[in-house]
């Protein structure tokens, strides 16, 4: 096997409990986003655009849709002779097997995969964030700083800092301590869940961590604190672009609405940094004479006959005459009848909304989740 400078390990095994019924039969990274994407398209496209051609995707919960979506990685140009995308679910060995106990354990169980490429560095990313990032710049920074680990950090508003894993740094961007969701944050640099490790160092810590029965085998809770305890050189890499954790229904909705802002920071139209996805082969969208479409993102295969305002429509959506959709995110193949009113909602894949149904929400109310009955039952 040809040697690779860097191998990416994409953590895609999260259960996504906070997304409720949206993840009842789907892994979180496979959740739809932005009209034509699934969340995992962002980290995968970032990898391919950053020149990383070897990506291990660690799957665990509800992997069926995700596995078939990934295929051999062709949509992201990751069908390579050497490397490419590899789906890595937990597997059974001679002496038994077990689920991934935590993020660190997931990598530990796949040390064999990483070692096949004898990389100098390993990029650890996760499948539940929406952002565009050049990992190559992160790697340059890591090398220049001769770090053992580099963690990408984002400046968050001070009043929100207590919701994140916060890095405290010295003047030279070296991380001095790490606190998960601090009540009184001393810094507003939040971890983005994007790490580069020097593989040799990481491997040692993974092995030590595995030997410690008290450990929860998690990067944030165990590996990073252990490395900091040993005064390993861990650097913070400041990232200034758009980044959003879409782990909850509210944040998933918000991230979709962010795309509609006139000065949206997440430019999907950038030809030098395309976000790739599996193509559903749909014809151009049809907007009827009776339709009224304002401030929307609409994907191919839609047929719009009603009024749509400030919303995101995924492929194959049908909107009947007289219906009014506002502030909503409609997943693929949603069928909306006539004279339906939907405001501030996420409508699940393939949902059928009967004529005349009204889903209006009060000011300040939660995002409504509209889906097929079996989906909501779960």
């Amino acid at each position: 096997m040809k040697r690779k400078e860097i191998v990416a390990m994409l953590l895609a095994g999260g259960e996504g409990k906070r997304l409720g019924p949206l993840t009842s039969n789907l892994a979180k990274p496979a959740v739809h986003f932005g009209g034509k994407y699934r969340i995992i398209d962002f980290p995968l496209s970032n990898c391919t655009n950053s020149g990383i051609d070897t990506v291990g995707v660690l799957t665990q919960y509800q992997p069926l849709v995700l596995n078939s979506y990934l295929g051999i990685g062709s949509p992201w140009d990751l069908d390579r002779n050497e490397g490419g995308v590899a789906v890595l679910p937990p597997y059974v060995r001679q002496d038994g097997g077990e689920w991934y106990k935590g993020t660190a354990n997931a990598i530990y169980q796949n040390i064999g995969f990483v070692e096949r490429y004898q990389p100098e560095y390993v990029l650890v990313i996760s499948g539940d964030h929406i952002y565009k990032m050049d990992y190559d710049l992160l790697l340059d920074f890591h090398k220049k700083e001769q770090a053992d680990a580099t963690i990408a950090v984002l400046e968050v508003p001070w009043d929100e800092a207590s919701r994140f894993g916060i890095m405290n740094t010295d003047e030279g961007n070296r991380i001095t301590s790490f606190v998960e969701k601090p009540a009184e944050p001393k810094s507003n640099l939040a971890s983005m869940g994007v790490y580069i490790f020097t593989w040799e160092v990481l491997k040692r810590y993974l092995e030590e961590d595995e030997a410690n029965p008290a450990s929860s085998n998690d990067f944030g809770k165990d590996i990073i604190p252990a490395m900091l305890g040993d005064e390993r050189r861990i650097m913070a890499y400041p990232f200034q672009d758009y980044w959003k954790d879409v782990g909850t229904i509210k944040s998933l909705w918000e991230a979709n609405m962010d795309l509609l802002e006139a000065d949206s920071q997440l430019n999907l139209n950038d030809r030098s940094w395309r976000i790739y996805s599996v193509n559903p082969n749909q014809p151009a969208q049809y907007v009827a004479a009776s339709a009224h479409v304002r401030n929307c993102l609409i994907n191919e295969g839609c047929l719009v006959q009603g009024e749509v305002e400030h919303s995101v429509l995924s492929y194959g959506v049908r909107i009947g005459e007289g219906s009014r959709i506002k502030d909503s995110f409609l997943m693929p193949n949603v069928k909306i009848g006539r004279n339906v009113v939907i405001e501030k909602a996420i409508v699940g894949e393939g949902a059928v909304v009967e004529d005349g149904a009204v889903y209006r929400s009060e000011e300040g109310a939660d995002i409504q989740l509209i889906g097929t009955s079996d989906m909501l039952d779960n």
Partner: protein
């Protein structure tokens, strides 16, 4: 349908598309917001389980090669069978003038090497979504030598097409050329099914007699000797080889019934080259009515009764009516466009007015700056 070979014959394909084919073969003329003409027949073949398709390219096929590439989007990038792009195998320029039978002959190895028993020969300018499996089955059941696909239609045709006549049993009694008056309402799709060995025999015997035109010589001249039957195709058909026909059949897609009939009713998708464009962005000021819009566009102006291809930018205050705007065009602010066809990469500067008539649309060639 392992036993069927597909041939898309671009040799001397009738083409009156003016500026649209100055630099490209008719097969790669953009159509319907995101397709090229060849996508329809190529997808139909693939959807009918034809896994081996030869495209007989003739002239100006660079854009076609770029479009179909390895055939991956059509699932034709394969180890066994797959897509074969066969350019003219000529030694001297004069040979380019010869008919399609000559090209079939030059590439006869392709036919000899294939194990398939039957051949479906088609053109690229027919916009349709056809189940060829049914055509081949009908051909075999009826014991025909050749089956020709036609559509019964009383509508006047703006494209140049052949008409055929059949008797009560469906046997083809006459095949006419593209011109001349006729009362027949049977429009040929120029899709032929026959056994591969019959095709090879027709190629060799016609050439031996000095004839080199497939339809005119190999088929029409043998119509009494061979059992040629018609097969009626009932889906949507657009014969697109003239500008008025291009305009009409494009605008047909603005009828949701036709849009649904062509793209959804058969259950078979039309494939095309993937561009990875994001969904179309309609801004606060945009106003779009009765239009077909592709991905990657940003629409800030008004669009009515029009077709907008992938990656087009339409500025504030622009008014686009009854027009076709191809991929990556940039329409400046306050531009007014009516009955126009803009080929790809056209830039229309702020405040310009371009107007054609429905019968003679304004045509802007590729990359023009107005």
């Amino acid at each position: 349908m392992k036993q069927v070979l597909g041939v898309i014959n671009l040799v001397n394909e009738l083409d009156d598309l003016e500026e649209l084919t100055y630099n490209r073969t008719i097969a790669s003329v953009p159509f319907g917001g995101r397709y090229r003409l060849i996508d329809f027949i190529l997808s139909s073949m693939v959807n009918s389980d034809i896994h081996s398709v030869a495209v007989f390219a003739h002239t100006k096929y660079r854009s076609l090669m770029d479009h179909i590439g390895s055939g991956r989007e059509w699932d034709l990038a394969r180890k066994r069978s797959g897509l074969f792009l066969l350019p003219p195998a000529v030694e001297e320029v004069q040979e380019m003038l010869k008919g399609d039978l000559y090209y079939f002959h030059k590439h006869r190895d392709f036919f000899y090497r294939s194990s398939q028993e039957y051949v479906v020969i088609a053109r690229s300018h027919m916009v349709c979504n056809i189940n060829l499996k049914e055509v081949v089955n009908a051909h075999i059941e009826r014991g025909a030598d050749i089956t020709m696909v036609y559509q019964q239609s009383g509508e006047p045709q703006l494209g140049k097409c052949r008409r055929i006549e059949t008797d009560a049993e469906g046997r083809v009694t006459d095949i006419l050329d593209h011109f001349g008056p006729t009362n027949s309402e049977k429009i040929s799709l120029d899709i032929f099914v026959m056994r591969k060995d019959l095709l090879l025999d027709l190629v060799e015997t016609s050439l031996a007699k000095g004839y080199d035109h497939f339809t005119r010589n190999a088929i029409m001249n043998n119509r009494e000797r061979l059992k040629i039957y018609g097969y009626a195709y009932k889906g949507y058909l657009g014969v697109v080889n003239t500008i008025p026909a291009y305009f009409k059949h494009s605008m047909d897609l603005l009828n949701p019934d036709i849009w649904t009939r062509l793209f959804y009713d058969t259950g078979n998708q039309i494939y095309t080259k993937i561009k990875d464009e994001p969904p179309c962005h309609y801004t606060e000021q945009s106003h779009v009515a009765n239009s077909l819009i592709a991905n990657g566009c940003r629409i800030e102006g008004e669009v009515e009764n029009s077709i907008v291809f992938r990656g087009v930018k339409i500025g504030k205050g622009a008014k686009i009516r009854n027009s076709i705007v191809m991929q990556n065009c940039v329409i400046g602010e306050d531009v007014s466009l009516e009955n126009a066809i803009l080929d790809k990469d056209v830039t229309v500067g702020r405040g310009s007015t371009l107007k054609g008539s429905p019968n003679a649309p304004f045509l802007a060639p590729k990359r023009k700056r107005i």
